[in-house]
């Protein structure tokens, strides 16, 4: 064993005794220094001198050497280990400032904080056995700093027994090297390395070294795991394994990059690797030549997860773009809103359906398009969706920008964030106003067809007996000789003619089988007034006819007659007993549009009037105010007749009590494309 240094300690009494000097080799300490301790026979170190024959080359007394030694040194005497010498480093190590705190006192008295450190037991062991004891990295908690604070410190201890001349152990030479800084540094490095190792493992980063000149590689443990290679295998075996598992299609650019990096000194490439256990992985290798050498150092990062995430992200982006395109081109209004009802998205169809542009709605409340009376419903539904409750699609009302209310079919769906929390609501609206109109028209059409079939059946059943009666009365009148009887039969014929006409008008949905011709309203009005005169008489209604002008126009007589009969019939129904009806025919121009020339027929009465809310529905099929007797078809049929004749109808009315009145004013142009021949009005 190589002796690097020798410390000689000699008591004053044995200074001349050469035998008293021994050299004891000491194993290398933690920091590599070597010290050799010699049993000391002297009890008083203040008399320390150089051993005989040895020159004090430094000219410094041994005591001072000990004092200046780079280690903490103390000499304990007796079985109670009383301090007889301490150097400054020892004082510092144990956190004392005055030597009097230690010298002359037992170690247990002076340093009670060492009680639990195991030092005292070691001293006892050394004293009892007389053998040197070494302890490395012993942790001792000692006061340190100002203010004093207990801190963990680490020492390499050497406890060397000292003997008297009889060979009896009479004390212990303590040598302590303060390793605290080194231990802490080493532990920090170890911790850092461990953290790095863990980080590399977690991040799936392997490190490598490669010397292309010697064609030799060194891989980290993580690198082996990433390659699935055996760390014990030879370098060539590892290389062959690795190169055979590089994805074949990537091998050309991998080998090219490896060759290229020798020229550039840089390596940066990605490739796929067919891992024997983890299937296909994506690796990113990055490295560079170490300064002044031919060796490369680098890392390989497993970027499989990142690739997958990127691919997944691309898939999601594609899906999102696809969905966005669907939303953009959808024929449904798709609107996103947060849980407070603030609009977050507004697709083009929503712009078309509701009339608001996206910039007018995004950031604003959805209530902009909700009728105020439906706010509570909206709140209730939003709350339900926010609670995660499922809502079925429903039909409701919305308001367009122009104020028009539209019927929509609405579906609400919760929108979740990445955490699965509901962050908003997507609503899909479809304008079903047109659908409703079609349904209503179909419904009306079906009802009309039903009524038509019913009316045709009833008409047929009534026509035959009615015509039979007409024929019989005709025969009876021919054979009647009594004058009064003839009058009665004449009146019966009058009533029968009226019945026949009414039957045609009300039940037959009169179909004119003749074409349009020139006619005047006057020629139609006067006979019809006569037909209705009996009813008027019953209610004591005064019907006045005022034919101011009677221009000729083109029309279908039967239809115009039915139109007038409907108006007159309604007036008779509306007017109370002793009421008045004025029928006026005059030349006129239409109020609006081209102001064509034509003829106007006005039927005025002083009935109770028609309320405004009723007026707007007057020309709807099946709308009637005469619940018991009306079919609700009269004015609807009349409006169709007018449309066919390119005419128009206007209603004015007052419901003021005592001053109520109603005027139906019909305009018929002198020339129209009215109705070639044949088609009926129903």
């Amino acid at each position: 064993m190589r002796v690097a240094n020798t410390l000689l300690v000699k008591t004053v009494d044995s200074i001349d005794s050469k035998d008293a000097w021994e050299t004891v080799p000491r194993e290398e300490s933690n920091f590599g220094a070597r010290a050799h301790m010699i049993p000391v026979h002297e009890q008083r170190l203040h008399n320390l001198k150089n051993p005989p024959g040895e020159q004090d080359t430094t000219g410094v007394p041994l005591r001072e050497l000990l004092a200046q030694a780079p280690t903490a040194i103390a000499v304990l005497r007796g079985s109670d280990y009383r301090f007889s010498y301490v150097n400054d480093l020892y004082m510092q190590a144990v956190g004392r400032t005055e030597t009097s705190d230690l010298l002359g006192r037992t170690i247990r008295e002076a340093l009670p904080e060492l009680e639990d450190s195991g030092i005292f037991q070691l001293l006892d062991e050394v004293y009892r056995t007389g053998s040197t004891h070494r302890k490395c990295d012993l942790k001792v908690t000692l006061p340190k700093g100002s203010p004093r604070k207990s801190e963990d410190q680490y020492f390499d201890f050497v406890l060397q027994p000292t003997f008297d001349l009889s060979g009896k152990c009479e004390g212990i030479f303590v040598l302590a090297v303060d390793l605290t800084d080194r231990v802490l540094s080493r532990r920090a490095v170890e911790m850092s390395e461990e953290r790095l190792r863990l980080a590399q493992e977690a991040a799936q980063i392997g490190t490598w070294e490669w010397d292309p000149i010697e064609d030799k590689r060194t891989l980290s443990a993580q690198m082996h795991r990433m390659y699935g290679t055996d760390p014990e295998a030879s370098d060539q075996e590892i290389y062959r394994f690795w190169s055979s598992h590089v994805f074949p299609q990537d091998w050309p650019h991998v080998s090219l990059a490896m060759a290229e990096c020798q020229r550039t000194g840089e390596m940066d490439l990605e490739y796929r690797y067919d891992h024997p256990e983890m299937s296909l992985r994506h690796h990113h290798a990055k490295g560079r030549r170490m300064m002044g050498t031919s060796r490369f150092f680098g890392v390989v990062i497993d970027i499989t997860d990142r690739k997958w995430r990127e691919e997944s992200l691309r898939d999601r982006e594609r899906e999102f773009r696809s969905l966005a395109a669907i939303v953009e081109s959808s024929d449904d209004a798709i609107v996103g809103k947060d849980l407070n009802g603030t609009v977050t998205s507004w697709n083009p169809c929503a712009e078309r359906v509701f009339g608001y542009q996206a910039e007018e709605m995004i950031g604003n409340s959805i209530r902009k398009i909700i009728p105020p009376e439906l706010y509570p419903d909206e709140d209730r539904i939003m709350s339900a969706v926010a609670r995660g409750e499922r809502t079925e699609h429903f039909e409701t009302m919305r308001i367009r920008k122009d104020g028009v209310r539209i019927e929509v079919s609405l579906t609400l769906s919760p929108v979740f964030n990445e955490l699965g929390e509901i962050q908003g609501v997507a609503s899909i609206s479809r304008d079903i106003s047109q659908q409703r109109r079609v349904e209503k028209a179909l419904n009306t059409s079906e009802r009309l067809a039903t009524v038509g079939r019913l009316a045709a059946t009833i008409a047929h059943e009534i026509n035959n007996p009615l015509e039979a009666v007409m024929n019989l009365v005709y025969l009876a009148q021919g054979s009647m000789t009594d004058a009064e009887g003839k009058v009665f039969l004449g009146q019966a014929q009058e009533e029968l003619a009226r019945m026949a006409l009414l039957t045609k008008q009300t039940l037959g949905f009169y179909r004119e089988n003749k074409g349009a011709r020139s006619l005047t309203l006057g020629e139609l009005v006067i006979p019809l007034v006569a037909v209705f005169s009996a009813r008027a008489r019953n209610k004591q209604i005064l019907i006045e006819t005022d034919i101011r002008e009677n221009p000729t126009f083109v029309g279908i007589p039967g239809e115009i007659r039915q139109l007038f009969a409907n108006l007159l019939n309604n007036s008779i129904d509306a007017v109370r007993d002793h009421g008045r009806i004025l029928i006026r025919v005059s030349a006129a121009n239409e109020y609006f549009g081209e102001k064509r020339a034509g003829v106007r027929l006005s039927v005025c009465d002083n009935g109770p009037g028609i309320a405004p809310e009723t007026r707007k529905n007057l020309f709807e099929p099946f709308f009637t105010t005469k619940r018991d007797v009306g079919t609700g078809l009269g004015l609807w049929v009349s409006s169709n007749i007018l449309r066919k004749h390119e005419g128009s109808i206007r209603v004015r009315s007052s419901v003021t009590p005592g001053k109520s009145w109603t005027v139906f004013s019909v305009f018929l142009p002198l020339k129209s494309k009215a109705a070639p021949a044949a088609p009926g009005i129903v």
Binding site: A456, H460, N463, N464, L466, E467, A468, M470, N471, L472, Y474, L475, Q477, G478, G490, Q493, E494, A497, R498, A500, L501, T503, K504, G508, R511, N513, K514, G515, R517, I526, P527, L528, A530, V531, P557, G558, A678, G680
Partner: protein, 173 residues
């Protein structure tokens, strides 16, 4: 005569009440022309189909000789009799007038076929020479039948004359 022309119902429209009354009075008066009176006295009519509206009586009351047929065979025998009818009247029961009767009458003697319609649709049936719409007053339809028979006789007379001339010409040739 002027009054009659004035108030006669227009062929393109139904009769109104006032017109109806006036026509009735005129029809019942003795102002018929001699020609029409002759028509009524001499005309023979075959009626086919059930007469639930008592039209047959009206026709008889107006002076027509009316034979009621209940089958095609009966019509055929009438058509081949020594005194063939002047017209065939068909009752359109539920709109199903017998087409056979029409073809027979038109094919054998080119007789006018008159339909008493019961539905609006049959008004436009061009198979008939005259269609009487539902709820037409007896005065009106009697007048129309009369006109139809008169016109038919006239046409047939002309046809016969032309036929005779043709025969004479053929004989001369």
């Amino acid at each position: 005569m002027l009054l009659r022309v004035k108030f006669r119902p227009h062929p393109a429209e139904d009769i109104s009440f006032s017109q109806l009354c006036i026509c009735a009075m005129l029809c019942l008066s003795d102002t018929k022309s001699a020609e029409q009176a002759t028509v009524m006295r001499t005309a023979r009519i075959i009626q086919f189909g059930e007469d639930i509206c008592h039209r047959l009586k009206v026709l008889k009351g107006a002076g027509y000789v009316v034979a009621k047929c209940e089958s095609i065979t009966e019509i055929e025998s009438w058509l081949h009799s020594s005194e063939p009818p002047d017209a065939v009247v068909v009752m359109d029961e539920f709109g199903k007038a017998s087409r056979d009767a029409v073809f027979l009458a038109k094919g054998e003697l080119s007789l006018p076929v008159i339909l008493f319609a019961t539905t609006e649709e049959s008004h436009t049936d061009s198979s008939f020479d005259l269609v009487i719409p539902v709820l037409t007053s007896p005065e009106t339809w009697l007048a129309r039948i009369e006109e139809t028979i008169t016109r038919s006789r006239s046409l047939r007379g002309e046809h016969d004359r032309h036929a005779q001339k043709d025969l004479q010409l053929a004989g001369q040739a």
